[in-house]
């Protein structure tokens, strides 16, 4: 009896957040442009030599992706908190963990997937080879859900605080370090000819761990923040 209703609840959360995002395309576009812009500033800062750009490209794109995801994460729960619907969702019969999971998943679909679509274009700007771009895509596919999952903990902890967005960045960026290292490292590995399997497996393991742990902590944090 519990199984299908949980399933339905998860779908309801997803559908709701996707509909709301579709109504606010402006916010969505801003997050994507932020990603493009941060990545485009680097060549202006370090110079246009193709070798150097290829060298720093994977790292720059990964850092830009973490920053872009943080930008949108501060609003993961904040909008629903402001209009009171977050309380209604927490008071629904289904467990809060599912709510957090649904919202993280929605965040990934809305903000993570587009990064995957934009990244190849930026990869070309950074003079990455096709093999490197392919690895970058796989690493982002495995890595961006981690950003949404860990970020949900920070968003729940900083709910409704003054300067919550900046605080969220301070709390969550250190936790992103392994994802950044494995993700950018995979692309580096391909370019250096040492292969990306080890990096990608570790990134996958980190994803599984984040999936198992962060929704519980974020749910607990959400309940604490709503008290």
């Amino acid at each position: 009896m519990a199984e299908p209703s949980m399933h339905r609840f998860l779908l309801a959360v997803l559908r709701r957040d996707l509909t709301l995002a579709a109504r606010r395309r402006g916010d969505w576009l801003i997050a994507q442009f932020f990603f493009v812009m941060v990545a485009s500033l680097f060549p202006l800062g370090v110079g246009p030599e193709p070798e150097m750009l290829a060298r720093i490209g994977p790292g720059v794109l990964w850092v830009a992706a973490t920053l872009a995801s943080l930008l949108s994460l501060s609003r993961l729960f904040a909008d629903d908190h402001r209009d009171g619907s977050l309380e209604h969702m927490v008071l629904s019969p289904e467990p809060t963990v599912l709510l957090v999971l649904g919202k993280s998943l929605a965040h990934w679909l809305i903000y993570g997937i587009p990064l995957l679509l934009i990244a190849p274009i930026l990869g070309l700007q950074f003079n990455l080879t096709w093999a490197a771009i392919l690895t970058l895509e796989i690493s982002l596919l495995l890595g961006t859900p981690i950003l949404s999952l860990l970020g949900s903990v920070g968003a729940a902890l900083t709910l409704g605080l003054r300067g919550g967005g900046v605080l969220l960045t301070l709390l969550i960026l250190p936790l992103y370090v392994p994802a950044l290292i494995f993700g950018a490292g995979a692309v580096d590995g391909v370019m250096a000819g040492t292969g990306a399997e080890a990096h990608l497996s570790l990134l996958g393991a980190f994803l599984v761990l984040s999936l198992l742990i962060s929704p519980w902590i974020a749910a607990a944090a959400l309940r604490v923040s709503l008290e």
Partner: protein, 244 residues
């Protein structure tokens, strides 16, 4: 109201007051002894010369920075599981000292690195992990400071410490791995000296000194926190009435 949760901070306040001098004296004596061993008994390292003597504070500080973080996570978990207010206060009292030791580990690492590696900062695994640990400490302290409601603040801080504690080993491992891939520094602050028994002894004595110092300072800090939170109780009012 629950007698246990109310009585416990009062008892602890007085107990802590009696314990602080003991730990402070022990820390002081151990420091003198440890410094004597480190500077007058331990031999010169044939590879690094006298500069290696920095490890006598660097290593204990690095140990303490991680150990204190784990103790904070422990008290946070106890507080979340059993709803004991004193454990949250203890976690809070430990954080600034933990951050201080992290800073000391970073600082001494840099000052050792300059003569050895020729650069103030090298992205070596230990230093990089310490830097990220410092970010975690700062994040936790900032989160505590940002939340006015004590109950929420305690719990949010504990949850952040916990997810950090799960992450710290992963961060350490990933940084270490990243470091070997990029062929970072080959001389290590800890590995280079052929660890003579006396060197180890000096490091251990100073580590115990740092530990007792941490206990003394954390107890003093927790007394202040207890008094602030319990100011409406009769015993706290009586204590405040005595001070001028």
């Amino acid at each position: 109201m629950n007698l246990y949760t109310y009585a416990s901070p009062a008892t602890f306040y007085h107990l802590a007051g009696r314990l602080i001098p003991w730990f402070a004296w022990a820390a002081g004596l151990l420091t003198v002894w440890g410094l004597y061993v480190s500077f007058f008994l331990a031999p010169t390292d044939f590879q690094q010369g006298e500069a290696y003597r920095i490890i006598f504070i660097h290593v204990p500080a690095a140990w303490m920075s991680m150990f204190i973080y784990l103790v904070m996570a422990f008290w946070g978990a106890i507080g979340l599981a059993f709803n004991t207010r004193l454990s949250f206060m203890l976690a809070r009292a430990l954080a600034p000292t933990g951050a201080m030791f992290t800073f000391v580990a970073l600082w001494t690492g840099a000052w050792w690195g300059k003569p050895m590696w020729g650069a103030w900062w090298v992205w070596d695994a230990r230093l990089t992990s310490e830097l990220i640990l410092l970010f975690l400490y700062v994040g936790i302290i900032a989160l505590w400071a940002a939340i006015d409601d004590i109950r929420r603040s305690d719990r949010a801080g504990a949850l952040l410490t916990l997810i950090g504690a799960i992450n710290v080993p992963i961060i350490y491992f990933s940084v270490k791995w990243w470091n070997t891939l990029h062929q970072g520094a080959s001389v290590s602050l800890t590995k280079a000296p052929s660890m003579a028994a006396l060197m180890l002894q000096g490091m251990l004595i100073l580590a115990f000194a740092a530990w007792f110092y941490t206990i003394a300072v954390a107890l003093a800090r927790v007394r202040r926190i207890i008094l602030e939170r319990e100011r409406h109780t009769e015993w706290a009012k009586a204590i405040l009435a005595e001070t001028h």
